[in-house]
Symmetry: C2
Subunit: 287 residues, 2 copies
């Protein structure tokens, strides 16, 4: 710990802070519907998220070192998938990769990450598609006419990406209305940076702050992963009940137990929390 | 995940497996008396162990790359201490450093780690003493005549180390009868390797296996950290009650609650579990 006049300053690198953000995110409890320190599924356990975070770090380090952000993301997913449960943190890595790239440039701000997004190319889009070959990710069928760009095609979709000249920013913009992570890419990570401020302004254990901001994000907007995996009605219910928890009308732990029992996972909201924790750590929040 | 005829083989490096071992160790619950996924102290929390593991990795990577083992350990402790709780995994890193060095040499066996120990020099001993400057570690007063080599003197003790020509192996041998980690260094890591076999032969979540072997180690020998921090009688009581848990005569979770409430921490046993988890991961245990 280096202590100076302005308080404690961590020596962690951006890649280390990104890995720690993944760990703190999954440690935060209760986080209704998601794996956390006290709740897990038989085939998707807390320890899979630990291994996923450890495995992702080399890819995150590439992002900080200036590697193409799509490539760094694909490498991070490849490393994350080195555990037996498959997809643990795909969405979180998609949030983190451009943030870590911006931090590596010394420009971790909304403008800085927007520059990273704007600089993406068709090659980054191809990397993004290749990342889907490492894990199964729950996605909707593509809209009419978009079948050639179904992400589940993996690298088979690359020629079509090239034909259309789509960058990774373009791909994200195409999904922004149905995917909360893509929406962040397109809107300059507004929710992530706002949430980072709330993490920083809160007090107490950082994992507890993660749980709190998770509920706040969940109450504010429908979780798009729940919309995709379940349906809009379930997402609306989850949003309403997260609001009830914040209002003191429902118990967070009971809601967590119920949603895990129903296998309803607001995963996109967790992805945003991971991004917010990273920004907060980079801005000096002390663990 | 690379899958071959012999089952899943992880691509994680030794440093990544060492970090994951630290994370799995603290995730294992119940681990009576120690911080785990469900129990923590106000000033020593689960999240401090997460940050400690993330911070330790660059030092662990040095060990794998052939850096002097004392120096790699000192760097790992320096990185581990980059969180607000101070000492989280000092002993675990002292177990892991020579194991990671042996793994880096492609010789993760009792003979291989013994070679690492035998090759230590006075410079490694000096590094070990310097590591005490990064954190407060609970230690006993040195025996009569050994005050110049009190580890709490940190680098002030280095001239005396040099005068006496003590290597890190010598320093460990001097403490082997009062410190369970030093005993492993001196006895070729017998308990660590035996425990790794039990982790490998067990089934179920790896964190649950960590909890199980923790209890088995605790029941087998008095925890030297409890002897030092409390007294031999408390260590004997903890050993006896761990045995009672294994015999089904006591409840592990109740014992965990009681020991945390009494602030009795069998930390040396946890350190050995971290080492065993590392060996098990290197030998193919799948998360």
């Amino acid at each position: 710990m280096v202590r100076g006049g302005g308080g404690a300053v961590s020596r962690r690198t951006p890649a280390q802070n990104a890995e720690l953000a993944l760990l703190l995110e999954v440690a935060g409890t209760p986080k209704p519907g998601n794996v956390d320190r006290e709740r897990e599924y038989d085939d998707l356990r807390f320890e899979h998220f630990l291994a996923g975070a450890v495995g992702a770090r080399p890819g995150l380090a590439l992002a900080a070192e200036g590697e193409r952000v799509g490539r760094a993301f694909e490498r991070a997913v490849h490393g994350m998938a080195d555990q037996s449960a498959g997809n643990t943190q795909f969405g979180a890595l998609l949030v983190l990769s451009p943030l870590v790239a911006a931090a590596g440039d010394g420009a971790l701000s909304r403008a800085g990450v927007r520059q990273v997004v704007d600089a993406t190319t068709v090659a980054d889009a191809a990397d993004f598609y290749r990342a889907f070959e490492h894990v199964d990710v729950a996605v909707d069928d593509p809209p009419e006419g978009m079948e050639p760009l179904d992400v589940r095609r993996g690298s088979d979709a690359v020629p079509e990406l090239e034909r259309r000249g789509l960058t990774l920013a373009d791909v994200m913009a195409d999904s922004a209305d149905v995917d909360g992570v893509a929406a962040e890419w397109t809107a300059g990570f507004e929710r992530v940076f706002d949430t980072a401020e709330r993490v920083r302004d809160a007090t107490g254990p950082v994992a507890d702050r993660a749980s709190r901001v998770f509920l706040e994000l969940l109450a504010a907007e429908p979780d798009t992963f729940v919309v995709t995996r379940d349906d809009p009605e379930t997402a609306a219910e989850v949003q309403r009940r997260a609001r009830a928890v914040l209002d003191g009308d429902e118990d967070a732990t009971e809601l967590a137990e119920e949603l895990v029992a129903r296998d309803v996972n607001p995963g996109t909201t967790a992805d945003l929390v991971a991004g917010a924790l990273f920004v907060a750590l980079e801005r000096g929040v002390e663990v």
